[in-house]
Structures are given as C-alpha cells and as structure tokens.
C-alpha cells in the first residue's frame, strides 16, 4: 500500500515534461478503448465484487455509464480497488482516468490537490454506528468513547470537530481499510464506528449480527460524494460531468433502460429527443457519438434505477432516496438543461 503511493509519487516525478493533461485524457482513453476507473476496496452498495467477481454498486455503475458514453459499451472498464489513502495519488499520477470512490467534495481537495469534482452522485452525511448493548441513543452521549475511523478521510476531521465543539473527549483508532474498522467494532476494540451514513448501513450488513448494531440519528457533516478527475483537462471533465447529468436527467424525464428504445422511437418531448441525440448532436463537441446518452441509459439505466438497484429498495441496504431524490421530489439531484 505504501509502495503504491511511492510509485505514484515517482511516476508523477518522472512523467514527460510536456504539459501533461491539458486535453489529453479523452484522446488517450478513446485510443486505449478501456476506461481506467478507481473504486472502493469493498463497500456494499457503492463498489464491491459480487459472488461472480464483478464489481457492483453506484460507484462502479457510474464508471460503466462513462464507458457506455465513450465506447457505446458499458463493459469496457478496468476497475482498480483503492483504499482511502491511495485514491488521490492514483488519480494525480494518471494510474486511473476517473476516481469514483465515495469521495467527499471539499474545497481543499478541489483547489489544492490538482483534482476537480465533477458533481455529486450521492449526498451523504457522517453518522455513528454503535452496539445496542451500550444503550446509547444519541451521539451526544459518546463522551469518552473509543471511536474507529478509516484513515485519510474527511471523517477524521469532522469527528474531531464534532467532539471538540461539543466539549467531549474521544480516543481515535485509525485503520486503513473499512473492513478492519468494522472488525474492530465487532470485537469491542472501539465503542463506535464513524463514517458516512451510507457506509455505516453497508458495513452493518457485513457484520455477523447486524441487528445488534444501530445507526445513531445524528448526522454531523455534509458529505457530497462524487466522481473526481484531474484538474486542468476540461474536455475530459465535461464528459464525466455530463455523463452524471445525463443519468439524472434521464430519470427526471422518465427514461429508463426498459423504455429507452420505445422513447427514442415515439417520444415527441423535445427534452427527451435532445437528450437521446435524436435532434441535436451534443456528442460531437465532446468527441462522442450522437447516441452517447442513449447508450448510458440503455446499458446502465438512469440515476434512479442505479440508486434503487444498488442501495435502495432493490438492495439489502434499503436506503431511502432522501436528499438523493430528484429536485422536484424534495431532493437535491438536479441536472442543468440539455439544450
């Protein structure tokens, strides 16, 4: 793991002196024919390998959507599992083209680390998972607790802020992998596991007795999670960003993987026709095919399908849409107009 960071640093040091990334990623990826995508090292609902060895989850599906837009084939993705610590170095060094690994969008990451967040695939917030035996009902009762965290996350900082502002003390135990911190909670090394709430639900179902554990009601931070690309390559940035918007817009207009063919044939709605590339060709300016958005919806589905399949009703996590509902249904998911 250390080695990866080191190799990445060396790779960054050794790459050729030509202004490396300006408008280069898209050409490279198109020529290569495969998208290199960085995902999590095993988080149900977001990216984890299922029984047959395929990556599943929102983060993995997002990369498939990008591949569908690029190549018309959602399968042309090479997934690289990364720990929280490795992820940004892997992106900076060019090991991956896009990082889709429940990473929180913050100003320091956006302006100081050579990366650009392309949008929000999941609005999350930090919460606490505790054993019911402790009888804790609120995070305010956690004074003096031992807390397990994953290294290199915004969670570490939020935790410290929360306990400090509430005048409470805690002992942090920091692990590199989320599995390790879950195991530590289970064995009693710590009282509480803290992470983004979606992750807590995901980790809970991995425990031996999920019913013994409860997620506390408090959400102590804003965690907008989204795909990240290298800074300074607006061409590539646009492709990734508008892939996300196409997913969201498709849901808004009621286009699903099941009805997209039908819609393409019969729809008279101008917004639908523009999105699917029937009238206007937005793809050309992005060096993509005319039907790029059609391919996304056809092969991966719209945002709502992605959500329900991976973390919502169709999954063991059963997470409510909440903030992640469409803007016209009380949520925050909002795609700018396709025109």
């Amino acid at each position: 793991m250390k080695k990866k960071a080191l190799v990445a640093a060396l790779a960054a040091a050794c790459s050729l002196a030509t202004p490396a990334w300006a408008g280069q990623t898209l050409d490279t990826v198109l020529k290569r024919g495969v998208l290199h995508c960085g995902v999590s090292d095993g988080l149900p609902g977001f990216s984890y390998t299922d029984a047959s060895g395929n990556y599943a989850g929102i983060d993995a599906d997002f990369c498939r959507a990008v591949a569908a837009a690029l190549f018309g084939d959602a399968k042309k993705v090479k997934f690289t599992p990364l720990t929280a610590k490795e992820r940004f170095t892997a992106l900076q060094s060019g090991e991956i083209d896009v990082l889709s690994r429940n990473s929180t969008w913050t100003i320091s990451r956006d302006v100081g680390m050579g990366m650009s967040f392309t949008g929000v695939t999941y609005y999350d917030g930090q919460g606490f998972l505790v054993n019911k035996k402790l009888g804790v009902k609120s995070a305010r009762e956690l004074d003096g607790a031992t807390v397990c965290i994953q290294a290199g996350t915004t969670t570490e900082m939020n935790l410290s802020d929360y306990f400090r502002t509430n005048g409470m003390k805690y002992t942090p135990v920091t692990y590199e992998k989320s599995d390790e911190s879950a195991k530590a909670l289970e064995s009693g090394r710590c009282d509480v596991l803290t992470s983004d709430q979606s992750q807590l639900y995901a980790q809970r179902i991995k425990l031996a007795n999920p019913d013994d554990y409860v997620v506390l009601p408090e959400v102590i931070s804003k965690e907008p999670l989204g795909p990240v690309v290298r800074q300074g390559d607006s061409e590539w940035f646009n492709v990734v960003r508008w892939t996300l918007f196409a997913l969201v817009a498709a849901e808004e207009y009621g286009i699903t993987s099941a009805n997209v063919d039908q819609m393409a044939k019969t729809s008279t709605n101008p917004e639908v026709r523009r999105l699917l590339g029937l009238d206007t060709d937005f793809g050309k300016d992005m060096k993509l095919k005319k039907d790029w958005a059609y391919q996304i919806v056809k092969q991966v589905g719209n945002y709502g399908e992605m959500f329900e399949r991976n973390v919502g009703k169709g999954s063991p996590l059963k997470i409510e849409r909440g903030l992640n509902a469409q803007w016209n249904k009380g949520g925050l998911q909002y795609a700018p107009p396709f025109r």
Partner: protein
Amino acid sequence: MTPGETLRGGGPRRWLYDPKIRALAAQILTVLAIALFAGWIVHNTVHNLTVRGIASGFGFLKNPAGFGILQTLIDYRETDSFARVFVIGLLNTLLVAALGIVFATVLGFLVGIGRLAENALIRGLSALYVETFRNVPPLLQIFFWYFAVLRAMPSPRQSHEFLGAFFLNIRGLYVPRPIPAEGFAPIVLALGIALAAVIILRRWARRRQEHTGEPFSTGRVALLLLFGLPLAARLIFGAPFTWELPQLQGFNFRGGWVLLPELVALTVALSLYTAAFIAETVRAGIQSVPRGQIEAAIALGLTPRQRLRLIVLPQAMRVIIPPLTSQYLNLTKNSSLGAAIGYPDLVGLFAGTVLNQTGQAIETIAMTMAVYLLISLTISLVMNWYNRRMALVER
C-alpha cells in the same frame, strides 16, 4: 623543425589517447549527465505539479492537523500543526524501535547461547524457536498477536483486574500512573550516587585484580548500594510518587497509563521475529571462537561463567556486531508494518493520514524516507563506534 614542434604536432592525438585525461573527461561527463538528469527530474516535477494545480512546498506543515491520534508521547491537540503530527509519528516509531531492539537483543542472546547449551532440551527448544519465528513473515506475526491473541481480551466492563490497580482488556493494559511527589528528587539523587559509586568500585576492583591478581566480587556491595541508598532516601524523605489509578468511567478507563494493544502486538511480534535472527548471529559468533581458546580457559581453571563472559563473548562480539547492526536496522524499518494494525507510527500517521489530508505526496514521502534514512544511519554510526571499541586491537 624543433623537437618542441614535433611534440606539439602530435599533441591532439596524444591528448586524445592519454588515459588520465580520458578518465577525467569520462568522469566530468558522467557527473554532468547525472546533474542534468537530476535537474530534469526536479524541473519536471515542479512543472507538472504547477500544471496540475497540486500545491507544493513545505508550507502545509504549519497548517492545523484537525484529527485525533491514538497514541501521543507529547501533548497534542487537534488544533496543532502537521509538523507536530510528524514529530508524534516519529516518536511513536522510535518507541517501537527502541523497545523492540532491547527485547530482541536480550531474547536473541539467551536463545543464541541456548542453541549451544549442553542440555539437549534447551538446545532443542532454542532451535525450534529460531526455525519457527524466523520463517513466518513479520506481518503475519503482527496479525497473529493483534487479531488472534489481543482481540480475545474481554471488554472494558469485564476487565481482568489485578490488585485493584491493573486492568487488562481489549483496549489495552491500564496501569497506575506515578506522579512525582516530595520524595522524588532525593530518591533520584540517591540512585545517581549509588550508580556512580558502583562504577568507581568496579574500576577499583578491576585495577586491583590486574595489579595483585586478587579478585574482589563487587556484586553484593553493588546490590546493597543500588537498593540501600534509595531505600534510605525513601525512609527519610517519604514516598517518591503518588499513584493515579485507572478508573472505569463511562465507556473506558480514565487516568493511569495505558499500554495499547497495537503497541504490544507490534513490539512483541517484531521482538520475537528479530530475536530469532539475532540468536543465529550470536550462535555463529560464539562458534567462531577457536576451540583452543576455551580449552586454554579451562586449563587456567576459569569457571564456565567466567569462560563465557571473559573469553568467549568478547571475541564473539567482533563477529556478532556487524550482522547485529543489520538486524537492528531491519527491526526499525519493519516497524512501519504497524500501519496495518492502526499503530500511529510515522508511516501510518504521516505518510498515510497527513499525505491524504494534504495531498502532498512528494513532500510527505520524501520526509518519511529521509527520517528512516537518518534513523538507520544513526544506528549504523553508533554500532560502528561500538564495533571499533570491541575490535581486536593489534599490538
């Protein structure tokens, strides 16, 4: 044509074939090439970092860290700077390295001597120890101690309790914390005086034996001094410490000192692993002492203990020290494996968390590498100095 002209006429070719000049030219070219290469790398890195908008430089060290740390040997608050986090990580690494070196050395010498024991049981057990521990990867051993042994401890509320002051649970071993009281200074002073007295006594005894041949056993007097003086100080000036007892409050024990399972697992695993190598080094060193030396010692009537202490070990040390140094270096470098079990050492804390929070991979990795280099060079330097002292002085 004067002879000078002939010489000058053949000049350029001679100059071309002069081995000295050619060697010099080759060296200059090599140095130039290396300098250019290094310059290119540095320029390139700086250029690429700017192009990609990645912050560079060491300014980030002044920024507040904003996260908590499990084990800090010096005071630390979340508002402290990344520079302080660096120092904390460094101290945690040094702590494990120092503890590991002490335990591994003691155990390694015992097992190494045990491998040559007359007693077949001791010999067999020592061999078994060496073969087991040096052939299992250190990371697995750390996992074994951390996940298999220490994770089996009870929760804080069901702690094993000893004497109402020591508590053992999954969060660690909680022991009373000494707080210096009135009697503290006198006892330290008494101990200092006793130590100095013992050293002087031993020098005197050695000199006397060299001059007159009469031995003087310093052991008992030394013991009397080392325990007697502090005890006397204790009786006169009162207790040196008051004790802060750990107490169960809410989720955890508060007060006292805690020995973390992460630290214990790492120290134990590294000590056992490295001790196996040290044992082999010690055995090899002892076996390198010519048989005749021991026979001569027997002929002179030295006891087995004297033979080992006065004849065998001093000669064996010359062979032992250089490989022993490598083992110390290995142990120090292996301590970075602590990151795998959440021990906040330099690699886990600084090259891990700090790297990720700041995104400045080159700076943090470079600093971390420089520190390991520095630690290793220091150990190396000290051991070389010790080696020179122990080396056979030819007269």
